[in-house]
């Protein structure tokens, strides 16, 4: 038995080693920077290569690529969540408050639902009003279950439905450059958002 534990430990360790070259996230709460390439062509690592179509809080159909040209700050939530999500939303608002007003046209704050069945456009709309997030730079998205799963895979966000109304999920705020390349991720609740804000500023200056 001991041998098996050891063997498995090694297996996980080896798998981790193999991935070391391109594993961008190292430690929780630390900033990551992914090398980016600027060009007219969509960069290889752009999430805008994902073919999915999403629906926003105004029931309009959206392709992620529609946001190209803006810096995107993204988080995955569900509106019936009572524990972590309100804090995540508060973190997002806190970040928004620190972006100078003249830049707000160049930035998009996006909340993607992990509970698309419950989070209809109407529900997302109501949520945005309750939270006073009705300005154009706030966007709420829902997609199909498969597309949501795929998007979470790109963001390394884990989530699982644990009861009819509740999900457990990882709390990660992600920043994308104007071409949809992931440039920064921060995991945890109520953590210092200074690095996230620095990353946003850097991208806005480009």
């Amino acid at each position: 038995m001991k041998k098996l534990v050891l063997l498995f430990g090694m297996l996980v360790f080896l798998a981790a080693c193999n991935q070391a070259d391109d594993l961008p996230v190292v430690v929780t709460g630390e900033a990551i920077s992914v090398e980016k390439a600027m060009s007219q062509e969509l960069p290889e690592m752009s999430v805008y290569h994902l073919p999915a179509t999403w629906t926003n809080q105004d029931a309009q159909e959206i392709q992620l690529e529609d946001m190209r040209g803006k810096v995107v700050v993204m988080v995955m939530i569900y509106t019936s969540c009572k524990s972590a999500c309100p804090r995540l939303v508060a973190d997002m608002r806190n970040i928004e408050r620190q972006v100078p007003k003249e830049y707000l046209d160049e930035i998009q704050f996006v909340m993607v639902s992990i509970d698309p069945e419950t989070d209809t456009p109407q529900r997302l709309k109501a949520f945005s009003e309750e939270n006073q997030m009705t300005d154009d730079h706030w966007m709420f998205l829902r997609g199909s279950e498969a597309d949501t799963r795929e998007f979470a895979a790109v963001l390394a966000v884990s989530y699982r439905q644990i009861s009819p109304i509740d999900f457990s999920h990882s709390n990660i705020i992600s920043v994308f450059d104007k071409d949809g390349v992931l440039v920064h991720q921060k995991e945890g609740l109520g953590v210092d958002s200074e690095e996230t804000i620095t990353a946003i500023h850097q991208e806005l200056q480009r």
Binding site: L4, L7, F8, L11, V12, F13, A15, A16, N18, Q19, D21, D22, V25, V26, V27, T28, G29, E44, M45, S46, V47, H49, C81, S83, A84, C85, A146, R149, E150, A152, A153, V154, A156, V157, S158, Y159, R160, I162, S163, D166, F167, S168, H169, S170, N171, E187, G188, L189, G190
Partner: protein
């Protein structure tokens, strides 16, 4: 008379299998409810579905690549596959020294998902996969059977089994093969696993990284084999290509055949 009866049974069985409109490469799984190792304190309900008897092979995957060249190793986007993708294939159009009927491995979750979608199928969910995997050769739930866990753990200990051909381990109650002892397999929602103390999150202990993270404790610590599978799923990312990680597809039954 006996012979005629047998013949009639044989024909009936044939007709039965015909009505699924499937080749024998898939078998029907009768749904049910069970308590998975992780993620819930209540039993989960799994519906009826069809599952591939064996994992997808190198030859199968080569055919997929011929029709979907965007998944060839020279063309795949780095967003969807890391640098290990099909690393043992000498070229875009050859699996080289790998056996044609060995399971394809070193493929990312995206590639596996797209393969299944190409055939109008999908990857199984963890709950579906684990539901089928708890079957022994004779029972839909063999977890309490003497020696079953031990047999599986024994299979897990054999090295380099990913090089073997599919169909070389045991066939379970449902007629599904190779769930244990050949390769690990991608699932649709592999990224629903949140295990505290996973390598990259060790430093923070997972305290406030997950909403409702405490709800994901193990239900049966004796099921060490399942623990290994869940931990492995929690350690991979969608673009990883790993040499002992393959996949198989499932298919929902048409609505009118779902009642039975």
């Amino acid at each position: 008379m006996k012979t005629i009866f047998r013949l009639a049974v044989a024909i009936a069985v044939m007709i039965q299998s015909q009505t699924f409109g499937q080749s024998e490469s898939m078998v029907k799984i009768e749904g049910g409810s069970y308590l998975p190792l992780y993620g819930t304190e209540q039993e989960v309900v799994v519906g009826d579905f069809l599952m591939d008897v064996t994992p997808v092979t190198n030859q199968d995957f080569l055919e997929f690549l011929q029709e979907n060249p965007q998944w060839k190793k020279s063309q795949v986007r780095p967003l969807f596959a890391d640098s290990n993708y099909l690393a043992t294939w000498p070229s875009d159009d050859s699996y080289g020294a790998n056996l044609p009927s060995a399971p394809v491995t070193m493929i990312s979750w995206y590639a596996a998902k797209n393969y299944c979608e190409w055939l109008e199928m999908r990857l199984p969910t963890i709950d579906e996969w684990e539901y089928v995997a708890m079957a022994s050769a004779t029972r839909p739930d063999g977890r309490q059977e003497a020696g079953f866990q031990k047999t599986i753990l024994g299979l897990y200990e054999a090295p380099n089994t990913y090089k073997n051909e599919v169909g070389t381990t045991f066939r379970n109650y449902w007629g599904v093969e190779d769930l244990h002892g050949l390769v690990w397999e991608w699932t649709m929602d592999f990224n629903s696993i949140m295990i505290g103390g996973e390598s990259r999150k060790d430093s923070a202990g997972g305290g406030n990284l997950f909403c409702a993270g405490a709800a994901v404790g193990a239900s049966d610590v004796k099921d060490y084999a399942a623990f290994m599978r869940y931990t492995f799923r929690g350690s991979v990312k969608a673009k990883y290509a790993v040499k002992n990680l393959g996949f198989r597809c499932v298919k929902d039954l048409p609505a009118d055949q779902n009642k039975n």
